[in-house]
């Protein structure tokens, strides 16, 4: 959809909802692989409000498919729980009004953590601390008011891990050719499980690009399409995963600090939350994004897609495989000396 079309549609969409004034400065926010986001202003005279509209990509350009309606309900629940999340205002879940399923939220002033780190606006250790605090706040939310589709906290940890590992095997089985690295990683993940912790709400795509730093110093977490009930260490694993492709790797560079602070904030034991355990989740969390990447590459290979992005993403896939294998080597050496779960003992505390 052309920006001019969206401009017109947004104006009508907002008018129906009683928002007066012209839509102004509709500008795409570049970045991200799943949805398209635009910033815009609306109002008249001195009464300007800034929003973002988050739209599904057109069908042929989608790398991943997620449910905008579910994301909208998740953010509504997060808003109700006073979580560090932008307030969602309106949604067109069918796409009848805006031309594609979309939602409108408050615009958050300020850079994301990646920009803040790269510009030197804040020391990366400080950003790691803020990221840890925000994660702890999210992970401690009661999921009672959340959509049932994301799951309920306190579920069976081993079952959750089993499902994730099986997803790796299923991913390999549906590719155009056999992939030894996936088959090996699935076996390795099964054999090197860390200490269990209670499942809770997790963001699912926790990264420095999705953490906004407001001028007040407050943190706001955006892009909730992959939220679900899972192991909280997955969020840190994914953050490190993504940080490896988008340096500086804020969490990885301060992982001891992150683990220590997370334990202090949540009461989780150090045997459950430690660099080795988080490293396990760097591997396990890879499926979330790289599953879609690999499926896209296979569609490209089979001639079912000509999405340039899929060809391009072969490179991060290759780098991720290297990163995962290095982790298995490091943790494998340790485990050979101590052939039990990564970490020791048992943790029954809630994050």
């Amino acid at each position: 959809m052309e920006t001019s079309q969206l401009w017109d549609r947004l104006g009508r969409f907002l008018a129906v909802r009683g928002v007066s004034g012209q839509v102004q400065a509709l500008t795409p926010i570049v970045g991200g692989f799943s949805q398209i986001t635009y910033r815009f202003s609306v109002g008249d005279g001195d009464r300007q409000r800034d929003y973002v509209v988050r739209c599904d990509r057109p069908g042929g350009a989608q790398l991943t498919t997620t449910d905008r309606a579910l994301e909208f309900r998740v953010i509504e629940a997060l808003n109700a729980a006073a979580a560090p999340v932008p307030r969602v205002r309106w949604a067109d879940l069918s796409g009848a009004e805006l031309g594609t399923p979309a939602m409108v939220s408050d615009f958050i002033e300020g850079p994301n953590f990646l920009q803040a780190a790269r510009s030197g606006l804040r020391p990366t250790a400080e950003l790691a601390e803020l990221a840890t605090r925000a994660a702890a706040q999210i992970h401690r939310l009661d999921t009672a008011g959340f959509p049932v589709e994301i799951g309920r906290d306190g579920g069976d940890w081993d079952g959750y891990i089993d499902t994730r590992i099986q997803a790796w095997r299923d991913l390999e089985a549906r590719q155009a050719e056999r992939m030894p690295v996936l088959r090996y990683l699935a076996c390795w993940l099964d054999l090197h499980r860390p200490e269990p912790v209670p499942l809770c709400l997790i963001h699912g795509e926790y990264s420095t690009a999705n953490l906004m730093l407001q001028p007040s110093g407050a943190v706001s977490v955006i892009d909730w399409e992959f939220a679900h009930v899972g192991d909280p260490r997955m969020d840190f694993g994914w953050c490190i995963q993504r940080g490896g492709k988008e340096p500086p790797n804020v969490v990885a560079d301060h992982l001891d600090l992150v683990c220590r602070r997370y334990c202090e904030l949540t009461g989780m034991s150090e045997t459950a939350m430690n660099p080795a355990a988080v490293s396990y989740f760097v591997v396990l969390s890879g499926l979330r994004a790289f599953g879609a990447v690999l499926d896209g590459i296979t569609r490209f290979t089979k001639g079912d897609s000509s999405l340039l992005l899929s060809a391009y993403l072969v490179s991060p896939w290759s780098l991720a495989c290297d990163q995962w294998l290095q982790i298995t080597e490091t943790l494998g050496s340790a485990a050979r000396q101590r052939p039990t779960r990564i970490g020791a003992g048992h943790s029954g505390e809630r994050p």
Binding site: E172, E177, R183, Y184, C187, S318, L319
Partner: protein, 152 residues
């Protein structure tokens, strides 16, 4: 046919022209990112053009040799034998890229079966299989070269 200029040279000059003549004329941020992706892909194609046939042939040879050694010296899991049999039945005697790629795919199934069978094994076969996997992945990294993610 003319083998010179080489594929790598051709790709190099295409990249130069894209970078020096086309990119400065593109003002749209989305199209600039598209060009950056194309440039990166060309960079990887240049590395693959130079190395991938050699890499794949050597990899296939080493995987099959490892599997043969397992069959000859140890109690070999059925999955490894099946994958090796499939390789022997289906592999192609040709150096075209498509044939070498097909053989590489058959060998991948052999290596996957060995890795699964030896994941807890600290012995020679397991170590050798993991070294082959690491080398193969490292070659993928070599293809990538310098890389920083360009979001769409």
């Amino acid at each position: 046919m003319m083998s010179k200029p080489s594929t790598v040279q051709l790709i190099s000059v295409i990249r130069e022209h894209l970078s020096d003549a086309i990119a400065p004329a593109v003002s749209d941020a989305g199209q600039q990112k598209l060009l950056a992706m194309i440039d990166h892909l060309l960079q990887t194609i240049a590395v693959r053009a130079e190395h991938e046939i050699d890499w794949m042939i050597n990899h296939v040879h080493d995987v099959v040799a490892l599997a043969d050694d397992m069959v000859n010296t140890a109690s070999t899991p059925g999955a490894v034998i099946e994958a090796l049999d499939r390789y022997r039945e289906q592999h192609q005697v040709s150096l075209t890229a498509s044939a070498v790629t097909a053989n590489y795919g058959l060998a991948a199934a052999v290596l996957a079966a060995i890795l699964e069978a030896t994941v807890t094994d600290t012995g020679e076969h397991g170590s050798a299989a993991r070294r082959l996997l690491q080398r193969d992945v490292a070659r993928g990294v070599q293809v990538v070269g310098e890389f920083e993610l360009v979001p769409p």
